[in-house]
Each structure stands twice: as structure tokens, then as C-alpha cells.
Symmetry: D2
Subunit: 353 residues, 4 copies
């Protein structure tokens, strides 16, 4: 209960200022030659300090595998891993021990559990996503080699990448610090983030993810429709506020005549407003979806708030935080999608006898 | 696996043209005086033929309980129910036995399972939602009496209800055939749907759902954040294309300074861009979210398509279908939300010892 | 949660005196030509009134499938079924509404749920096993055709079938009313049951189950070892008190030198004290296990007991009950084993990539 | 899937010769003042080298908690822990890399996964049970303080502790190296084990477990009957061959008149052949059960066997192994039972509203 995945599952441990993060992946098939450098590469794409527009915190984020891989191959038994925490400055958070930061999880954790680890948000910290990147980047290795999963920053605040994904070269995403593959838009986004950062403020945005060459048949109606599983995973990411796939919210403004994707004789469709999914099952066309992220709640400026007794306090803005999480969220979205797809891909193998 | 819910679960049966729909609700607590008239009332809100803007199909949709309720009280054992199908005209669908309708699940079911019940879409039919309405309207009875769950049609095509939900009287939603509580907007929506219907076309829209008086503490990070569980449920509804909560996609355009919800001394917040959820857990403020629905794929006009061999065929437009599913989707959204909330509400009782 | 099975799951509904039993089987693969006569045959093997040593209650036990089977083939969507209850004489049980029958579940259900359906034991009735027989006999059709699952009555009270299963012709089991394939022992058992019945008493016994030709590799360490999954299923049967496999409790008296099964060059083993399972995984040898059943608690003689207020009452012995459930439990054991094996058989297909 | 527990769950990692064992406990309630010394004490009861009748391997088995406990209290978030492996002499096992040891899991793992970690049995090693002891001894702290869970060695080979558990002082169990609370029987058992050890042989036995003061109402029919959940857990222990509760296999020889437990006016029963469980639910009487263990398969003498190509090989008897695992299995049985009970105890809190 409350693991990621249905058959292939990830169960996680770790808190912002505990000794380590980690996880256990269950039901990973045996015989996969695990590319652990790829796993570390994905972790490196997520880690802080990669460029001057993200947080300068230092987190080395080295993953160590504890079980389930032998002589470079998965053994079919649970894959355990940990990522040790270093450079935790718990002292940084003592001033927050009794305060509730606005739009953070401080108040809700306290109400729910009656206790909270206030250091860096404890379990509510977005650092939890290191676990997901490890698991997702391993899970990606279960999928057919031709499947590609590519996410990019499609907007920052009011700056949108206007080109459709088909007109972008997604292999260039990592070339810009903001992970937008359109160089002109990327420049504007970077300037905007720098401005915002100077103000001690933060800014939101959207990430678009495109999955190509996924075979038809993936997804489990009901209640495991492909879009529902993707939405669930994405809305577990800290700061995610919305999810749409295919035509999404725009589709709600259209008529059926405009929206229906007519078939070609090879079963591909002339348009793809369906976003590669019909009836909750992939149809072989590109799967694409978009995730909205709110601006990070931690500001580098003082905010009025309350403590756990309802007394007014000032929450000081200090520490090393992202002015915009979008660039670092790109590998999270990709690898989380990979995990969801790998889970449903395995399950689909049991659908026909 | 692939049930609705985590602890409180719903497992369903039924196909469009089989003898019956039905379901089993597991882990429903004992001792609830079940209001079965309310269940039937919710089913009636969903059924076809309620007004002249929805399909004129006749489905009586009477629920029969088979177990788990004794002398009017739930017994704590599985609640089984069925809704018999009547008036199935399988013959209506014979012309579709080998055709793939555009933007339906015909092709994907065939690819996935190698076999499909073509009559009315079989398992992919939206008639499956009768089960969800039964289960959700029972589950609603687990929640504290003061919790209200109210959905309404907030847009049809390009016609939007511009007022925020706070300015609407949601008790008036059912007074208009289109289930929009703002009479002026409702009129426009109805006219638009009639136009569209006349053309044999269909149209999409959005539903907004507002949950009031939910206690703080509901939702399970990670991976059972309240918004993620709601999103998963909503995106399992046929035709749903997107989900956003609180500030949603608009929040992605904002800065942290604008977006943070500052606390009052009673722990309520001055604004509620968070949508009543912080860190995946309810904070006691209104929970609100919006679901996008694409236009129905079944048109009352001929469409070009292919059969399972890739030959071009004409899919004829005939039968009794909705030009706009939004009004009938309102009780589906509400009762599905009720099920999700009841599940997480029960689980939360075990969080503190 | 609390379904039967892990991937292939059965969720059930029904109570002794409700309108129907039934269930939903999820994740059954598509494309199985379902032999529904075999399902009915297995139900008939379980039903009362088959011979003069079992209860003479009349239960027709006709299964009706509601979904998941189309044109004789499974469609991969949930298989729903019901078995209507007939001939329920609720009045028979009014005298028990407030009494707790000794060694029944009356007291514990009341303590647990605060409410109970006293008519025939409600959910605690062994009639629930009709659902398991339906699901198990369908699941058996997923297994390779050469797999055989054969159970028989190996003891009644102190009368034991002394021959090892290898020396019995298990195809003859149904030829005797008591379902013991050794005619001499069967005669003794039948005489013993008739004696016991005349006294208004009941008697226990054991069932041995033998599974042949199961491929190696089935079972999921940890925590889904084949023997553990079988034990869990068997100990959910009403009246089951113990489970052992292979050498079982006798093995606990042996030394390693005596107990180890040495390999032949074809990987079969010279002995099979392991019972076809090593490390929780089938090894290709015969799987065999034994289940102990206590005597039925319902006697046809008066017993002293208490009501829900602790007052002394007399529980009258009347009604139509089995003096020995063992013969009717044989198909329950077989079909339950089939369900467990089919579930693990499917899962094993995902173990290697 | 394949975790231990239903709501309270344990997911584990680790292999005999990997860097560490560990696990993640999910849904542990917040606010438990965790007695971590008790956890370490239970681990110490399980570890090798405690006396001269068990293996002299040195395993320090120190548990380190990585998350879920803050300032000595559980936080309600996942509890992660690891136990580092030391003193692994992988070289000890090189001679076994291609051999299949008789009655081990070598052959079945190879067939199932196509790959195996041959060092010390990899995942199939009984060292996995360190994880269960950690999780179980924490879970025990959820149960009401008055609940006691006491296991002891009730037989070794043909030497049985003839006294019923009621006549034994179970607080004395740990005073004997063999963990049998009857000093005379304990002496005989120890002598027998020493003899067996001298021969390079091994021997089986049984463990009896007694749970007192468990409230009525625990256990979930169907399919989570208390006895079924206990049986499943116990039969996941390496070398376990059978499980019985209450009258067990003896009950199968009795008549209903002998077997029924008549009620006293306080709802206790005059006898307790039910073993504290009726209809799958605890009734407030002592719960007791017995587990059979086969003799360990690893002998300190040479055995004929085959390699993975079917060639005859000699498996040499060497290393440091237990001649009788029973004494060290006592804390495994107790703590595993504690986990099962805590899981069902929590779930039962949601049964009545």
C-alpha cells in the first residue's frame, strides 16, 4: 500500500536530514544487464549545483546497490539501494522547529502525525525524489530499447516554448541550463529565473514529456488506465499542481469532429489529440503529457507566519534553495514515467495466454 | 491490483451488453446505517434520459445489494451489488464488430487482449461508471456529516463559468439541465449543446469539484498524496484528459511571493492557492480541483475509419448518444471523489497510536 | 487487501441467507476457451445432498457468469459471477439470533463488528466456498494441461488410509461417497461417519492433495513461498486446523542425512521429502500436502451455551448439517490449490526477461 | 505484492554475502516511543554463536535505523533500517558455484531466475530472517502492553516436551541453550544435538508459540483469517514444513462433542481446542500454534549431488552451520507472529465506525 507501481514496486526510505535515502524495488525481472552508470548519470542530472540557476547546495548523491544485482546482472530478487546524505546542516533548521512555513507541509504533517522531523522538511522534502530517479532509471532498462522518454521545460512563468514538441530537437534539452531545447526560449527563461532569484523570489512552470515507440497495448482499464497511472505518479512530485495528456485542457474546448483522430491503414492516426492513449491503453502513437509546477514555497525573504501554537512568527528566508525547480525536475519526470511504463509493460505480458 | 482505493476498495464487473454491472466493496466499516435511497438518487443523477440535452437511452439503473448490509446496517463484510442491464440492443452494434471507431478503445482493446466484446464498447463503455456511483455514494456515508462534495460544469466548449466557486450557490447545480449553478452561463451552455447536437457533433468541457469541511490530515505521502489519488481516480473516467487542483496550471505562471498561502492564527490560510492540500495532506481549507473532458468520440455522422484488417470502412453515426457528457459526469466526479476521500479518511485513523 | 491471490485475484460477496454468492476474478488472461461445464461439475462435487453421508440440504448451486467471457472466450477483463441462493429457511435460525453456538464464529463476529447476520452464520458460513470452487476451477484452465491436482480423504477420525499416495489410483477418488480412493478404507470411513451421524455427533479428518507435472520455478521467495501461499489458502477454509507439506511434522523428527533429497542426473530427486518445493519454489517433483479439519461444530444434539448477554441458553441441535465435511471439502482443496498455483504460475512468467 | 503484512508491511533487501540486509516498514503509526534496545535484544537472541550448540559463525548483527524515528519516536513515515554484513567469506562458497546442494534452493533459483548468487545461498539464505526480527520486534510495540508472545522448542527429533504449555514457565525459556523451558527435556535435547553435531548431521524439531491477552476481534475473514496469516508467515521461514493451531492435526481425530469449546458466562471457554481463534478471529483465549522444522540441509559430511549440467559432483561438508536451528528460530517465530498480529490489530481498528 502506497508504494510506487502495481507489480513492479518501489518502497522508499529516507528523510532530508537522516543518514540516508534508499529504496527497495520488488519484482524486477532477472537477467537484465544493469547499466549502473546510466543510473548515476540520471542522478547527476537531478542533483543540485549543476548550473548557476539552481541551488548551490552540494549533494554528491552516489547510489550504492545492496542487493538484487550480481555480477552486473539483476537476479530477480529485491533490488535494495541507498544514497547517503552528506552535508546536512541540521542547525540551519533549528529556527524552524516550531514554525510553520507558508505553503509547506509543516502544518499538515503535524496535524496528521502529531510529530514531525522539522529538519529540512523531513519526509516531505523533495530530496525523496533521488529514490525515484534511481528506481526509474533502472526500470527504463526493462523497456524495449527503442522506447524513448524525453522531458523538457516547456514554460517558466509566462515564458512559453511555443513550438510543438515535434518541431524541437529533444536530444538538445540538456544543452541549456534550463533544459528547454529551444535556444531562444531557453535564454529568456534563464534571464527570468535570474531576475526572480535576485529578488529572493521563486517561479513556477511546466514540463512536457514525450514517449516515443511505446508498443500498443500498455495500460490497464479499470482502474489502471495509462494516463491515470502517469497522473498519479506525477502528482506525487513535490510542487506538481496539474497533469494533462494529449489535447488536455485544450481538448475540453473542442468538438468531437475536430478532436477525433482518424485512422490510417496501418492503424497509426492522422492526428494525435488522444496523446497516444485510447481507452486507457497505448495505441502506438507518441504519448505526451504536461505537468504544472507551482513556484517553490521557500523564499529568500522574510515571511509572516505562525508557530504551532498559533503565535505570529517571522520565517526568515535563508539557506540554499532553487528559485525554479523545473530544470532539476526534468529527470524526475522522465524517470518516474519510465517506472510507470515498465510496471504496466510487464503486467501487459500476462494479458494474453 | 487495479481496484479503486487502497484500504477501502472497489472491484467491479460488467460490460455494456452483458447481463449486469456490479461490484464488491471491501473493508467498509460495520455499523453504518446505509442510506440506500441516497445511493439510488445518485444513480438517477447519472442515468440517461434526464433532460433533452442528454442521451435518450433508457436505462433504469436500479441497484440491488447482495451482501454486507443486514437490517439496514453495514456488517463489515464485503458489500456486493449488481445493476441489471436492460434494453441492450446488441444488434445496434453488429455493424461495428470489425470496425475500429476513431478515438474509441476498439483498436487498443484488440491489440491488448486479442479479443474484444464489440457490443457498445464492452468493458470500455462509460456505463462502468454506474458501479463507481454506487460505491462512492455509500463511501460518502463514512465521512463526517459536515463534509460536502459538490461538483458542477464549469465550462462547455468555449463557454466558461467565469465566477469563482465561492460566488456560486452550489446547491442550485441540479436546477439546470447542464448542471451549471450560474443561470446565465447555464443558458448559454444549453444552447451550445443543442446546436452541437443538431449537427450530429459533440463537445467537451470541464467540471469543477469543491470539497468543504474536510478535516486536516487526510492524504498519504508518499506515494498516496491526496491530489495524486484524486487525479488517478478522475483520469480513470472515460474522456477525462486533465486534472488540476488549487491554482493548477495557472499556478505554474506565478511567483512564490504571489502563490504562498499565508497563515491566520487559527491555521486557516489567507488565500487558498494550495487548494486545501499541502505536502499531499489536507489542511482543512476547501479542496477544489478541475477535470477536463474531451468531446465524446461517438458522432451522429459518418466517419471514415479502418477495420481490423486495415481496410477502409465507413463508421455510420447512429444510436442514442450524448452530445455532451458533462452534466451526467457531475455525479461521477462527486462520488468518485467521495470514495477516494473515504479511503484516505479511514487510513488516516491509523496514523497516530 | 484480503483477496485471494496476488496478481490473479478473487474478491467475493455473499452470505448464507442473502440473495446470492458471487465473486470477481481480476487479471485472468484473455483468450482462454473457458470450459464452464467443468466449473459446474466442480460445483456439483461440492454441493450438499450428493450421497447419504453428507447433508441432505438442497442447494442447486448454478453459477451464472456476468462478465469477462464473450463467445466462450475470456476477454481479459474482470470475470464476474453469481450463484443464487435458494431454499434459505431463515426461520430455521431465529432461535439462534441471540445465542452464541459453541466453537462457531458467532461470538467473534459480534465482538469484531458489533453486528452479525445470524442466519446460518452469515459471512462465516462455509457456503462461501462455492465462490472459491468457481474461481479455482476457472483458474485451473490457465495451468498447463498436463498439471493434475488431485485431493482425497486420507483420514476420518482414527481411520487412516495407510497407503502412500503413490500406491493409490487417484482417478478412483470420486467412486466412493467418502472420496477415499482405497476401497477398504473408504468402507470403514463410511461406517464410522454413519455411526457418528446417528449419534448426532460429527467427526474430523484430513485431506491429502497431490499436484503432478507442475513445472519447476513456481513460488515467490520472500514472502510468497509456494508452501506459504498454499497454507494461507487452506487455512482460510472453514474448520481447517493444520497444514503440512512433504515430510511435514514427520520431517521434524528426522535427521538431515535421512531427509535430504539427493539429485538424479536429470535433476529429479531420488526421494521427495521436500514435497516438490525447495526454497519456496517448485522443483518439478510431485507437490503434496495434507490439511487437517476439525469436526464440524454444529451438532444434532442440544448443547449448553450463552447468549450475547452472558446468560445460559440451550442451543438446540436441528437443521440439515454434515456429520463429516471431508468428502465435500475435497473439491474445495483442489480448486483452491488450483487458484494459488495459477496465480504463481502467471507471476513466474515475469521473472526472467 | 509479496511483502509481509497487509496494512503494516515489511519489504526487505539483502543477500547472504552482499554488503547489508535491511528493510522498510510502511504504515507504522506515529507516536510510538520505540524501544530500540529491545529490537537489538531480539536480534541478539537470533544471532549465531550464542552457545556451543549453535553455529559458531560470528555475525554482529547491529541494526541501524535510517528513517522514520525522530527523537526516539516513530514519525509515521517509513521506517528504514539496515544490518551490515561482516565476516562474509565468499571464498568459502566458490566450490559451490556450479553445484546444486541437495534439498537447498540452488536448483530451483537457477530454474526460476536463470541466474543465482551462489554465495551462501544468496537471497535464499536464512540470514534474511534478521530483517523479520527487526520488523517484528518493533511491531510488537504497537500491541497492547499486556499481550505476551512466547515461543519455545517443544521437540527436537524424537524428544518431545510432554508437558502442555500451561504447565511450563515460559519466562524460563532463554535459560536453556536449546530454549526449552522444561529443564529435564532441555538436557535431553542438548545431548541429542551434540551427538548429531559430532556426526556432522543435523536434526529437526518443532516450536510452540503461545500468545496471551490478545483482545477478541483480531483477524479478517475472508481471506485474512488469523490462523491463515500466521500460517503464511511461519511457512515463509526457511525449513518450516508444517503449521497447526489449537487442536491441530490431533483435532482431526476427534468428534464434535469432544472438540467443541463450551462457553463460560464471561465468554471465556471451558476448553480451548479452538486455539483462541473462531471463524478466523481471536476470541480472547490463548492463541497457540506449532511449527515443524525439517533438519537443516547443510551437512558437515560429503554428499553426492549434481552440477547445473547434470554431472555428478561431491558437495563437501564444510563451513560453520547449525546442527539444529530450533533454538535460534524461537525469536524468529515470536517476532514474525508479533508482526502478523500488529498488522491485524491495526486493521481491526477500522472495522467499526
Amino acid at each position: 500500500m502506497f508504494n510506487l507501481g502495481n507489480f513492479l514496486t518501489l518502497c522508499t526510505l529516507g528523510e532530508s536530514h537522516g543518514p540516508a535515502y534508499g529504496g527497495i524495488i520488488t519484482n524486477f525481472p532477472a537477467g537484465v544487464s544493469a547499466d549502473l552508470e546510466m543510473v548515476q548519470h540520471q542522478l547527476d542530472r537531478r542533483k543540485p549545483g549543476q548550473s548557476n540557476i539552481v541551488t548551490q547546495r552540494k549533494e554528491s548523491d552516489k547510489v550504492q546497490f545492496l542487493s538484487g544485482i550480481f555480477d552486473g546482472q539483476t537476479t530477480g530478487t529485491p533490488i535494495g539501494f541507498i544514497i547517503e546524505n552528506h552535508n546536512q546542516k541540521s542547525g540551519d533548521y533549528e529556527h524552524l522547529a516550531h514554525s510553520y512555513r507558508p505553503s509547506h507541509a509543516d502544518f499538515t504533517y503535524d496535524r496528521k502525525f502529531g510529530i514531525r522531523d522539522h529538519r529540512g522538511g523531513g519526509k516531505s522534502s523533495a530530496r525523496e525524489t533521488v529514490n525515484w530517479v534511481v528506481a526509474g532509471s533502472l526500470a527504463r532498462q526493462i523497456l524495449p530499447a527503442e522506447v524513448t522518454i524525453e522531458a523538457y521545460v516547456s514554460s517558466v512563468g509566462d515564458i512559453f516554448c511555443e513550438k510543438p514538441y515535434q518541431d524541437l530537437d529533444l536530444s538538445k534539452t540538456d544543452e541549456s541550463d534550463v533544459r528547454c531545447p529551444d535556444p531562444v526560449t531557453a535564454e529568456k527563461m534563464i534571464s527570468r529565473i535570474k531576475e526572480i532569484k535576485k529578488e529572493g523570489n521563486t517561479i513556477g512552470g511546466t514540463i512536457t514529456c514525450v514517449i516515443r515507440n511505446m508498443p500498443a497495448g500498455i495500460g490497464e482499464p479499470v482502474f489502471g488506465k495509462l494516463q491515470a497511472e502517469l497522473a498519479k505518479a506525477m502528482l506525487n512530485i513535490n510542487a506538481a499542481k496539474g497533469f494533462e495528456y494529449g489535447s488536455g485542457f485544450c481538448g475540453a474546448r473542442m468538438t468531437g469532429k475536430e478532436h477525433n483522430d482518424l485512422f490510417n491503414e496501418d492503424f497509426s492516426t492522422k492526428t494525435n489529440l488522444s496523446g497516444g492513449i485510447q481507452g486507457g491503453i497505448s495505441n502506438g502513437m507518441d504519448i505526451y503529457f504536461r505537468v504544472a509546477f507551482k513556484p517553490v514555497a521557500t523564499l529568500l525573504r522574510n515571511q509572516q507566519s505562525v508557530d504551532r501554537h498559533g503565535n505570529t512568527v517571522t520565517v526568515e528566508g535563508r539557506g540554499r534553495h532553487d528559485a525554479c525547480v523545473l530544470p532539476r525536475a526534468v529527470p524526475i519526470v522522465e524517470n518516474l514515467a519510465a517506472f510507470v511504463l515498465a510496471d504496466l509493460y510487464l503486467i501487459n505480458k500476462l494479458r494474453k495466454i
